[in-house]
Symmetry: C2
Subunit: 336 residues, 2 copies
DNA sequence: CTGAAAGCGCTTACAG
DNA sequence: CTGAAAGCGCTTACAG
């Protein structure tokens, strides 16, 4: 019976009439504002309930100037990073009654503009910009909007709130784990130098070695593509060397998988002879590797949740620390 | 200068006043309705432009009963299928000025209910339900809502519009490709029988063989997990047999990758000795396989786009054919 | 403790 | 061809 009245939506007038009060009183009762006898408030609420009243959020927003709606912009159509971030945002916000507009803009500036305008027209309370790379901005300018903006996993202006995984801390975790396994000759096989994360992780790798009193070698860091193929090539090159490594920290799980496969093809036992740690905890890669990859998880869902909360605080005019928020990564120990 | 007036939003009153007309006339001019001199209409438009007027979509929706907003429900937080579908929906709808609410509900019925209620409160014009499996519904009942619902890549009621990839046609494409390569002994290594797609693809596999006059063998279909490991195991079993296959159609790209890797480990050359075709065109798997996988693409983005358009037609009261829409898959030829 | 009235920003019959 | 008025469904000072 309930919820079918397509044409018969019940309004606050219906509730007020049924309860024998004015709409003003009904509104106050339902929003727990104003002052009235507990009895009246209760009665109005029960009538509302009985009639199946659900306030029209549009009408409410029109007066309250709050739409309980935020816009989510992403340039990532296929990637794996964005989905957990978005899920975290959506989850974190729904608890506060706020809904999320999803907009995929890819690298298209005009499309991005159209989406932003549409969101603004729909009176979003704020915007979250999300991407696949922390060193590239989305193809649209968001800094002088009339609503607050939070950046997650994409580059934002210096005076904005930007949330990213703590790549340095993650890398340290990885290297310290290798050291804890008793590894002494640890190399780092990672992605292209054009990525900012490559440098951050490399620095942390070197610092962790130093902190443990292990030598930091010039040729300990090898850069290539973010691909399995590069993992294979790197192992080929490493196994040409006089002193082969006994620990390999990889810049992502795909490289790590290539490394592990290449080691197996050389009859090098992982993890007995060599320990390998990846980065990303991309489950589909990490779990299918033989043995399954030990890797670093960036806690993207939590990052999304925090991005949502940060935006909410901004919307409410609460104080929020500007700048780069680096969120901790976690080590996931599997078999490598 | 433009777009900064946080507190100074320009309304249609401002436009009307500046143009020396009533708000009614202004509204008509801007919406291209009513009748008035071209001169007046132009003048009003120019003033609106000059003032940077952007209509408040909330206010507009309140009277028009159309929010130009739809809800998108998904149970898929990490999967690869949903993101392209969502991107297609978002892309297809933004052209019509409609925005999309993203809701990830996972397997949580209460959460799903909360999201649906929130969407309804915000007066969405319709809802699209999306999932990761075509044979399972979302954990929430959507059939008696006051707005139209379209299902994409998830199970819907028989009298609804449900869009899915044409698994049979995709499988046929795969098998016909193998036959065109001159393969005669073609097996099908696929996922668990609990998945509906497994049966659809199996049937199409058998039909394609028959149509080509090739024998359909009892043990030609092998079921296991959707995982690389199963690909390895299947090859191990197959290579025990007297007559080994020369063509392998796999139920997904992960299995196909396991198969290709296992063949290489046995020094069987792909594609010289054996041709392999996968399913999904999951680029990260297909492209990293050595050699890269030939596979079936489900055109998920297009599926999303069509889901969006179908919903729009429903919202506009236009005729839409109910039932299961099977959208064509495409063969992507790579190296296997 | 409760209600009449005005208003949020737009659109839409209806008059003229 | 144009405008005054009412209305969409709610909330919020302001009176009483």
């Amino acid at each position: 019976m309930s919820g079918q009245g397509a044409s018969e939506r019940v309004t606050i007038y219906d509730v007020a009439a049924a309860a024998g009060v004015s709409t003003a009183t009904a509104s106050k009762a339902l929003n727990d504002t104003g002052r009235m006898s507990a009895e009246t408030r209760d009665r109005i609420r029960r009538t509302a309930q009985a009639l199946g009243f659900r306030p029209n959020a549009l009408a409410r927003s029109l007066t309250s100037k709050r739409s309980f709606t935020v816009g989510l912009l992403t340039d990532d159509t296929y990637g794996r990073f964005t989905l957990p971030v978005m899920a975290g945002i959506s989850e974190g916000l729904i608890d506060h009654g706020v809904s999320v507009f999803l907009c995929t803009v890819e690298d298209n500036p005009e499309l991005a503009k159209v989406h932003v305008d549409a969101m603004l027209d729909k009176q979003v309370d704020g915007i979250i910009a999300t991407g696949k790379r922390i060193d590239r901005p989305l193809p649209v300018e968001l800094s002088h909007l009339s609503v607050p903006v939070v950046y997650a996993l994409t580059a934002g202006p210096a005076d904005a709130v930007t949330l990213v995984p703590d790549d340095g801390q993650g890398a340290r975790l990885a290297v310290e784990h290798l050291i804890a396994q008793g590894r002494k000759r640890i190399v780092h096989v990672t992605g292209p130098g054009s990525f900012k994360v490559v440098h951050e992780r490399t620095r942390a790798y070197a610092e962790a070695l130093e902190a443990a009193g292990l030598p930091v070698r010039e040729d300990g860091v090898m850069r290539g593509a973010w691909a399995e193929r590069w993992g294979h090539e790197a192992v080929a090159a490493l196994w040409e060397r006089a002193d082969r490594p006994d620990g390999i920290f990889c810049g992502n799980d795909q490289i790590a998988r290539g490394v592990v496969d290449a080691l197996r093809e050389r009859n090098v036992d992982v993890p007995r002879d060599v320990s390998v740690v990846g980065f990303d905890n991309w489950e589909i890669v990490a779990e299918q590797t033989r043995p399954p990859l030990t890797t670093i998880d960036m806690n993207l869902k939590e990052l999304g949740r925090q991005a949502g909360h940060a935006l909410l605080r901004l919307v409410n005019g609460e104080a929020v620390e500007k700048g780069l928020w680096k969120l901790p990564c976690a080590l996931v120990v599997r078999g490598s």
